[in-house]
C-alpha cells in the first residue's frame, strides 16, 4: 500500500498529445477514480502507471521510489484489463496462480493464497474451470483475484464494469468497494460513467483532452465544479452562457437574455461566464434568499420518480427537476412559469475557451 504521485506527465502518440502534463497525488489506501469521456487520456494514464506505456517526460513515484521507467514486471502496479484478459488455455487456478509461480513461491503457499483469493471474490470451487466456462461477472472476479493475489502496491482497474449488464454492474461495484475496504489497498479506477465514479470513489479526478480539470471528493466535484467542463460532465445540468455586468467584491451581477441575476459568487477574471444550475436545485415556488426568472413552459417530461419542466427564457432553455407533483400541479405548456434558485446554488464559472 503506497501513495502514487504523478508529476507533469506528458505523452504523445505521433502527432496527437494524449497527456498534456498530468499532476496527481493518489493517497495510500484510497479508491481514486480517473473520470472522463473517451479519448481524454484516462486509460493512457493508467497504462503509464502500470508500466505498459512510458511517458515522454514527467516522473512517477510509488511512495519515495521513482518508477517512471521501471518495467511493468517489476513495478507491482497490477492492472485489471477492461476485457479481463484471462488466459483461455489455463484454468481459473492457473490464471490466479500465475503471478505467484513467477515469484517462485512454494506450492502449498501458492495453493493457500489462490484459495484465499477465490474466497475473497466468492468463487470457491471454480478453481478447475476454464475461463470460457464462466459468466462475464465471474470472469471479472477471476481477473481481480489474479491481480490481488500478488499483493500489488496499487491495483489498477480499467473500466472494469463496462462489459457487464446493468444489474451485475451494480453488484460488482459494491463488491469492488467491499474488497478495497477489506484489504485497505490503493486502487486507481478508470471509468467514463460519472454515476459509477461518484458511487465508488473516495476522490475523483475529472479529465478532459489530456488534462486534469479538477480533483476532489464526489461531493466537491458535483456541488462545486471548478470548470464548465466538470459542471457539464457531472450529470444533466443547465449551463447558460452569460455576461458579468457588475462586480462588487466577490459578488457579481450577470445577465443572460434580458434576465439579470444579482449577488452571485464569482472571482474569475473573464466577464464571459456560464451560469451553472443543477435542475434539482430549481424550485417552482418562491423560497428564501433566491434568484428568480420568469418565462414560459416549453415541455413537461414525466420520468416516473421525477418530472422535468423545461422553461423557455428568451431563446434559452432551462430544465427544472422536481419529485413533487404538487409543485407542478396544473402546469401546462405555454403557461407562464417562474423558476427559483437559492443564490448559493447558482454557480458562475468562466466560459470555457475552445
Amino acid at each position: 500500500m503506497v501513495d502514487v504521485k504523478l508529476e507533469n506527465i506528458v505523452k504523445t502518440f505521433g502527432e496527437t498529445v494524449a497527456l498534456k502534463g498530468i499532476d496527481l497525488h493518489i493517497k495510500a489506501g484510497e479508491l481514486f477514480t480517473l473520470l472522463g469521456p473517451s479519448g481524454c487520456g484516462k486509460s493512457t494514464t493508467l497504462r503509464i502507471i502500470a508500466g505498459l506505456d512510458f511517458p515522454d517526460s514527467g516522473t512517477i513515484y510509488f511512495g519515495d521510489q521513482e518508477v517512471t521507467y521501471l518495467p511493468s514486471s517489476k513495478r507491482g502496479a497490477v492492472l485489471v484489463f477492461q476485457n479481463y484478459a484471462l488466459w483461455p488455455h489455463m484454468t481459473v487456478f492457473d490464471n490466479v496462480a500465475y503471478g505467484l509461480k513467477l515469484r517462485k513461491l512454494p506450492k502449498d503457499e501458492i495453493k493457500k493464497k489462490v484459495e484465499w483469493a477465490l474466497e475473497l471474490i466468492k468463487l470457491e470451487g471454480f478453481a478447475d474451470r476454464y475461463p470460457t466456462q464462466l459468466s462475464g461477472g465471474q470472469q471479472q472476479r477471476v481477473a481481480i483475484a489474479r491481480a490481488l493475489v500478488v499483493e500489488p502496491k496499487v491495483l489498477l482497474l480499467d473500466e472494469p464494469l463496462s462489459n457487464l449488464d446493468a444489474k451485475l454492474r451494480l453488484e460488482m461495484r459494491s463488491e469492488i468497494r467491499r474488497i478495497q475496504r477489506e484489504l485497505g489497498i490503493t486502487v486507481i479506477y478508470v471509468t467514463h460513467d460519472q454515476e459509477e465514479a461518484m458511487a465508488i470513489s473516495d476522490r475523483i479526478a475529472v479529465m478532459n483532452v489530456g488534462t486534469v480539470e479538477q480533483v476532489g471528493t464526489p461531493k466537491e466535484i458535483y456541488e462545486t465544479p471548478k470548470t464548465e467542463f466538470v459542471a457539464s460532465f457531472m450529470g444533466k445540468t443547465n449551463v447558460i452562457p452569460a455576461k458579468v455586468v457588475e462586480r462588487n467584491g466577490d459578488r457579481v451581477s450577470v445577465e443572460f437574455e434580458d434576465i439579470r441575476l444579482d449577488g452571485l459568487y464569482y472571482t474569475g477574471e473573464s466577464d464571459d461566464v456560464v451560469v451553472v444550475i443543477r435542475p434539482e436545485r430549481i424550485r417552482l415556488k418562491p423560497i428564501e434568499n433566491a434568484v428568480s426568472f420568469t418565462g414560459t413552459v416549453d415541455l413537461i417530461e414525466y420520468y416516473g420518480f421525477f418530472v422535468e419542466v423545461v422553461g423557455l427564457f428568451g431563446d434559452t432553455r432551462i430544465i427544472a427537476r422536481t419529485i413533487s407533483d404538487r409543485e407542478i400541479a396544473g402546469l401546462k405548456p405555454l403557461q407562464q412559469v417562474t423558476f427559483y434558485v437559492e443564490r448559493d446554488d447558482v454557480i458562475v464559472l468562466p466560459k470555457q475557451q475552445l
Partner: protein, 613 residues
C-alpha cells in the same frame, strides 16, 4: 532502468529487451543475408560490361529473339499426321522470349480468373444436388504433382487424347482432332494448375460479403446480373484480383509446363525456361545476359506484386456489419442455371481434375502411349518407391531437407510475425513486413541463380560451392531457399493466429511480473500452437514438392537430389520414366492429403497448402 530512444524507434519498445530485439533482427538479417544480398550481387553482374557500369546486357536483349512485335509462325495450322489423319495443330505465336512470358502470364491470369470466379460463385451461392461431392472434387486440383500433371495435360490434348476422344470421336463437335502444344499448351497446363488459387480467394471473398449489402440492393430493385455487376462482383474483386496476380507471378516463374512442352521450340521461348536451360546445360550461369534477363523477370513480378498490394489496400472494404443474423445467401438454381451447372461447370471441373486422375492412372499402368486411356495394371512403379535405391534416396533426402527447413521456417515466421504485429510503433516493422512478403514476387529460378553465384563466390571449393559439382552438397542451399520461399505464406498464417490473441493477454503477464520470454513462451506460443503446427505441416508439403531450386541447384549432385530433381530427370529421360514420375507424384499427393487432413483436424480450420485461405 533507462529508456532508450533508439530502442523505441527501432523495436517499438523504450525498454531494450533481448527477446524483442532478436525477434526483429533474426528474420531481418536472415532475409538480408540470404535474399537481398545474393539477389543484388547477381543483379550487379547484369550492369557490368568490361568492368564498367553499363546497360550493355540489357540492350543486347533488344533482339527479335527476346522481343518481337511481328509474331512468327501461325497460331494454328492444319497438319497431316503420319497416319494420314488431318489435325489442327495449335501452338501460338512467337513474340520473343520476354513478350511470350508476359502474354502467357496475362492469358493464364484471365483464364484462371474466369474459371476460378465461376466455380467460386456457384459454390458460394447455389445449393444443388451433388454439391458436397463437387466440394471434395474441387479439392483435387490443389494437389501438387510437379511435372507429371503437366505431362497428363499434354496427353489430354494430343490427337488421341481425352479431349479429342470426347469432342471429336464421340460428340463430333471438332471437324478434325486438335493438338495443343507450344505456348498454348503451356497456357492450358498452367491454367488448370493454378485456377484453384483464384477459386479459393474468390470463394472466401463471396462468403465474406455481408448478405445485407446484397439484400439492400435487391430491396431497392436490383437483381440478377445487375446485382452481380454492381454489388457482388465489385465487393469480391480485391480478393479475386489478389489471387489472379499471384497466379500471374506463378505463371511467370513456372518451369514445369515449359519443361514438359519443350519438345516444341516455342515452349522454350519463355524467360523462366531460358534461364533454366542455360543453368543446366553446362552451368552457363555466369552469363551476364542471363542475369539481365533474370532482372527483367524479377522486375515484372515485383511490379505485379506491388501493384496488387496497392490496389487491394486501397479497396480493402471493411464490411460494416452491425450485428444481426448473418444468413448466407444460398439459393436453389433456376432451371437454366441448373442446366449450366450440370452441363458446363461440372464437365469443366472434371476436365480440371483429370490431370490428377491421370497421374494416378499413369502410376498404376503398364503402358500409356499415344492412346486415350492407359493399359495394363501394375504395382511395380509404386513398389519401386521403396525398392529402387535411387528413388528411396531422393525421398529420404527431401524429407531431411524439408524437416530442417520447417524448423527454420517456423522460427523465422514466428519471430517476424511477433515483431511486426506486437511492436507496431517500430520503424523497422514496415521494413520487416515488406521484406518477409517480397519472396512471393521473387521467382524461384532467380533465387537459384543468385545462390549459385553467391555460394560459389563466398565459399569457393567447399561443399557449399555449386561449381564444385560432385563435391557440392546442396542441403544448406536448398534449406535456405525453401525457408525464404515459404516464409511469406507461413508468416501470414501465423500472423493471423497472433492477431486473434489479444495483446492484453501478454500485457497482463508482463504486468504480473513475467519477462518477455516468459510471456512469449508461456502465453502466446501455447495460444497459437495449433497455428504453428498447421503452418509447419503445410510448409513441409511445400518443401517436399518445391521445383525451381530443387531442379537446378538440387540437381547438381545425384547423391543429394531432392524428389523434384529426380522427377524432372525421369520425365524428360527414358520412356518408362513417366510411370515412375507418376508414382512419385502419387507419393506426394498422399503426403499432401495426410498433411492437409491433419492440419484441418488439428486446427479445426480450413487450410489449403498454398496458404491463401
Amino acid at each position: 532502468m533507462k529508456v532508450s530512444k533508439w530502442s523505441e524507434r527501432l523495436f517499438g519498445t523504450p525498454l531494450f529487451d533481448p527477446v524483442v530485439t532478436t525477434s526483429f533482427l533474426f528474420p531481418l538479417l536472415y532475409l538480408v543475408a540470404f535474399l537481398i544480398i545474393p539477389v543484388l550481387a547477381m543483379l550487379a553482374i547484369a550492369f557490368q560490361y568490361n568492368g564498367q557500369f553499363s546497360l550493355h546486357w540489357f540492350t543486347s536483349l533488344a533482339s527479335d529473339y527476346y522481343i518481337s512485335f511481328h509474331p512468327e509462325g501461325e497460331f494454328y495450322k492444319l497438319i497431316t499426321m503420319p497416319t494420314g489423319e488431318q489435325v489442327y495443330y495449335i501452338q501460338g505465336w512467337d513474340f520473343g522470349v520476354i513478350l511470350n512470358s508476359l502474354l502467357v502470364s496475362i492469358s493464364v491470369m484471365i483464364l484462371t480468373t474466369i474459371l476460378g470466379t465461376v466455380f467460386a460463385f456457384v459454390m458460394a451461392r447455389y445449393d444443388f444436388p451433388g454439391k458436397d461431392i463437387v466440394r471434395i472434387l474441387l479439392f483435387v486440383p490443389l494437389l501438387v504433382t510437379p511435372f507429371v500433371n503437366v505431362f497428363i495435360v499434354k496427353k489430354m490434348f494430343l490427337p488421341a487424347g481425352l479431349i479429342n476422344w470426347v469432342f471429336h470421336d464421340i460428340l463430333h463437335i471438332f471437324p478434325h482432332p486438335i493438338w495443343i502444344d507450344g505456348l498454348v499448351g503451356v497456357i492450358v497446363a498452367q491454367t488448370l494448375t493454378y485456377y484453384p488459387i483464384v477459386y479459393l480467394n474468390a470463394y472466401a471473398s463471396f462468403i465474406n460479403i455481408d448478405p445485407t449489402l446484397e439484400e439492400q440492393a435487391e430491396n431497392l430493385g436490383s437483381g440478377g446480373l445487375h446485382l452481380f455487376r454492381t454489388v457482388t462482383f465489385p465487393l469480391a474483386l480485391p480478393g479475386i484480383a489478389a489471387g489472379a496476380t499471384l497466379v500471374g507471378i506463378f505463371s511467370l516463374e513456372d518451369l514445369a509446363a515449359p519443361i514438359v512442352f519443350q519438345g516444341n521450340g516455342l515452349a522454350r521461348k519463355l524467360m523462366s525456361f531460358q534461364i533454366y536451360s542455360a543453368f543446366t546445360s553446362g552451368f552457363n550461369v555466369g552469363s551476364p545476359q542471363l542475369a539481365a534477363l533474370a532482372l527483367i523477370m524479377l522486375t515484372i513480378a515485383i511490379m505485379m506484386f506491388l501493384g496488387i498490394r496497392k490496389y487491394v489496400s486501397l479497396r480493402q472494404y471493411a464490411m460494416l456489419s452491425k450485428g444481426g443474423r448473418w444468413k448466407p445467401r444460398v439459393a436453389k438454381p433456376k432451371p437454366w442455371q441448373a442446366f449450366l451447372i450440370y452441363f458446363v461447370v461440372l464437365p469443366v471441373l472434371f476436365l480440371s481434375i483429370f490431370p490428377q486422375i491421370g497421374v494416378v492412372l499413369l502410376a498404376f499402368s503398364e503402358q500409356w502411349g499415344d492412346t486415350t486411356w492407359p493399359s495394363g495394371f501394375t504395382l511395380k512403379h509404386i513398389q519401386s518407391i521403396i525398392t529402387q535405391p535411387d528413388i528411396e534416396r531422393v525421398i529420404i533426402n527431401s524429407v531431411m531437407y524439408s524437416t530442417v527447413a520447417i524448423v527454420v521456417i517456423i522460427l523465422l515466421s514466428l519471430t517476424a510475425s511477433y515483431a511486426s504485429s506486437r511492436f507496431k510503433k517500430s520503424k523497422l516493422g514496415p521494413v520487416l513486413d515488406s521484406l518477409s512478403t517480397i519472396p512471393i514476387a521473387v521467382p524461384g529460378i532467380v533465387i537459384a541463380m543468385s545462390y549459385f553465384f553467391f555460394f560459389a563466390k563466398v565459399f569457393p571449393d567447399t561443399p557449399l560451392d555449386p561449381t564444385n559439382l560432385l563435391g557440392f552438397n546442396p542441403a544448406m542451399v536448398l534449406i535456405l531457399a525453401y525457408s525464404i520461399r515459404r516464409l511469406p505464406f507461413a508468416a501470414r498464417s501465423i500472423s493471423a493466429g497472433i492477431q486473434q490473441v489479444h495483446i492484453s493477454l501478454e500485457e497482463v503477464a508482463l504486468n504480473l511480473g513475467a519477462s518477455r520470454w516468459k510471456a512469449l513462451t508461456g502465453i502466446l506460443i501455447p495460444l497459437i500452437l495449433l497455428n504453428l503446427l498447421g503452418g509447419a505441416m503445410l510448409s513441409f508439403v511445400y518443401c517436399m514438392s518445391e521445383t525451381s531450386v530443387g531442379i537446378t541447384l538440387g540437381s547438381i549432385n545425384p547423391e543429394y537430389y531432392p524428389i523434384t530433381a529426380r522427377m524432372v530427370e525421369l520425365i524428360t529421360g527414358s520412356v518408362g520414366g513417366t510411370h515412375l514420375t507418376a508414382a512419385l507424384g502419387v507419393f506426394l499427393m498422399v503426403v499432401q492429403i495426410i498433411a492437409i487432413v491433419l492440419a484441418n483436424v488439428i486446427t479445426k480450420q480450413r487450410y489449403s497448402f498454398i496458404g491463401l485461405t
